[in-house]
Symmetry: C2
Subunit: 154 residues, 2 copies
């Protein structure tokens, strides 16, 4: 083996710590804005897609339509989104940003860019390039393994 299992394990430990810290940072910011992770995730998807039916949000988030009802209820109460009638389908509602919601969604994007600069801004290219290359390969391995597990589990 070119490397010990201990070295690979330590690298995974670093990756896991990174996920924990990024999660903590995000969570901090959300609490400040009066949001939960689930609600923020919905706002993020809404920002990516524009006004959306609850069904499409449910599919995007990978949760049940009933769950989306609850999340939208919360976001309506706290003033981030509105329910509007769908122009051509009277069964459906279009979830749309309020001004406040729009502002927050833009802040998300800015915040994400700031985090990217914080993490990588000072990293010299000699490290950044192989980092991205290695990360790409690691992701490929993981995607493949998960897809195979999903195949086998069916």
């Amino acid at each position: 083996m070119s490397r010990t299992a201990t070295e690979n394990g330590a690298a995974l430990g670093q990756v896991l710590e990174l996920t924990v810290l990024l999660g903590a940072d995000m969570s901090q910011a959300l609490v400040r804005e009066g949001l939960t992770e689930s609600r923020a995730h919905l706002l993020w998807e809404l920002g990516q897609r524009g006004p959306s039916t609850q069904q499409s949000l449910a599919r995007a988030l990978g949760v049940t339509p009933r769950n989306v009802t609850g999340l939208v209820d919360g976001l309506v109460q706290t003033g981030f989104v509105e329910r509007r009638p769908h122009p051509s389908d009277r069964r459906a509602t279009l979830v749309t940003f309020t001004e406040r919601g729009e502002r927050i969604a833009e802040e998300f994007q800015r915040g994400r860019a700031q985090v990217a600069e914080l993490l990588f801004g000072d990293l010299p290219d000699e490290l950044f390039s192989p980092f991205v290359e290695a990360l790409g390969r690691v992701l490929d391995r993981l995607r493949t393994a998960l897809a195979e597990a999903a195949e086998g589990g069916r």
Copy 2:
């Protein structure tokens, strides 16, 4: 600037995808074992510390003692842990693994090692070394920023 914000943003995107996929993989495995993330986290800490009071678990997990009561209730019902009297303090209970719990905790460790091999086993040293170096620096930046944010927020 040596790199564009777009490149840094893309790198962050990769990192975030990695966190999502690792979370999905872990979650898959936990559901198979009849565990939730919170309960698995408690088992993990218990494995690191050995038999523990609920207070110490609460501190380790960063949740309230009341919350630990619920998690331990669930783990007792599903046969992963037992409550035993504390030998010297009759107020406290010692949460200890059952045989089944012990077995699962060992499987966690093996599973984690397998994931490490899956992710990094095929990565050539020329990529692995700078990857770890870069990751270390990124973690330092993030730890520092979070510590400062915690300072300021007090």
